[in-house]
């Protein structure tokens, strides 16, 4: 009986312990007000002609938080900006670096078959230390992919500066 009681008490304690651990996840995420401010601040890093610069911010889940389609945008720019942001978010790396590590016969080449990703420069993860809270993607800046990448890097840095 006493052994039974001991076992019961142990089970009860275990149950309580797991209850205590079953709190909701607390995750940091991009603030859309920060995204708006960062969008305007990053533009100074996006070349002399902003008429074609399309920008998308995604959150921690990879969903769109802000999108700004340039007046002179081509048809593909908005989706490309979103996919660059998504790529940077999910791989927690600049999309231009992910492009280079998924080429040809490299072991990671198969990652290009995922939906939504895009092996093109212009996407930057928004990192608070080691934690990714979103991504920013740019399409249409002058200077091709390096130009897009410099622009998106500025966007990510602007969010991080605001988040601190």
């Amino acid at each position: 009986m006493s052994r039974f009681t001991t076992v019961s008490a142990a089970l009860l304690a275990a149950a309580l312990l797991s209850t205590a651990q079953a709190a909701p996840l607390m995750e940091r995420n991009i603030n859309s007000e920060d995204a708006m401010v960062a969008y305007e601040r990053m533009m100074s890093s996006c070349g002399p002609n902003l008429n074609n610069v399309t920008v998308v911010f995604v959150d921690r889940a990879g969903d769109v938080v802000l999108q700004a389609r340039a007046n002179g945008a081509a048809l593909h720019n908005l989706d490309l900006a979103r996919r660059k942001a998504y790529t940077a978010r999910t791989f927690r790396t600049k999309s231009i670096e992910w492009r280079d590590r998924t080429t040809g016969t490299q072991p990671a080449a198969g990652q290009r078959m995922l939906a939504e990703v895009i092996p093109l420069g212009g996407g930057s993860p928004i990192m608070i230390g080691e934690e990714v809270i979103g991504g920013v993607g740019v399409s249409g800046a002058q200077g091709g992919q390096p130009g897009d990448q410099a622009c998106s890097d500025a966007g990510a840095a602007a969010v991080v500066a605001l988040a601190r």
Partner: protein, 173 residues
């Protein structure tokens, strides 16, 4: 006979050239590209900021979309803490206001189930809910703004949308 045929061919050619010239002279000036106004990114950002300012007076945190003349998103922001449907709803309200060139609230009554226009609800992307207001220059819809997630619901969303457009009213000509 030979010379009469030649003369006939010649006159046909002359008439043909004359017709050709006529086509060029009358149609060419009309064959210019269409030039249409559409809400610019800069205007869209101003609309969004002013609408957010109005809606934040009662602490509302809104999702908001500005679509252009084509009904395509020009600028949009999803609210912190938005429900999963809010962002998409803001876009569809804007689209509805743009395509019918009237507040999306009008579409509620115009397309009510007992009305002849009820079938319009089967269109893609439209939504019979208030909170979408067209951006007009006279009779011309150059875009629209749609809002979702305001505390006061659809009437309040309309107020915020109109406040947003008011910020660029001076540029709408």
């Amino acid at each position: 006979m030979q010379s009469r045929l030649k003369a006939l061919v010649g006159s046909v050619a002359v008439v043909g050239i004359a017709l050709g010239a006529g086509v060029l002279a009358t149609s060419a000036p009309m064959a210019q590209p269409l030039v249409q106004k559409s809400v610019s990114l800069q205007q869209a950002i101003q609309v969004v900021k002013a609408a957010i300012a109005e809606c934040s007076k009662d602490g509302s945190v809104i999702s908001i979309t500005v679509v252009d003349r084509d009904g395509e998103v020009r600028f949009s922001v999803r609210a912190n803490g938005a429900n999963p449907h809010n962002f998409e709803l803001s876009r569809r309200k804007a689209y509805t206001a743009r395509t019918f060139r009237s507040p999306s609230a009008d579409f509620i009554t115009k397309s009510a189930p007992d009305k002849d226009l009820a079938g319009q609800r089967m269109l893609k992307d439209v939504i019979p809910l208030g909170g979408g207001i067209p951006i007009m220059i006279g009779e011309d819809a150059i875009g629209a703004v749609g809002i979702s997630g305001a505390k006061g619901g659809q009437p309040r969303e309309e107020v915020c949308a109109r406040a947003g457009i008011a910020a660029i009213q001076g540029q709408l000509s």
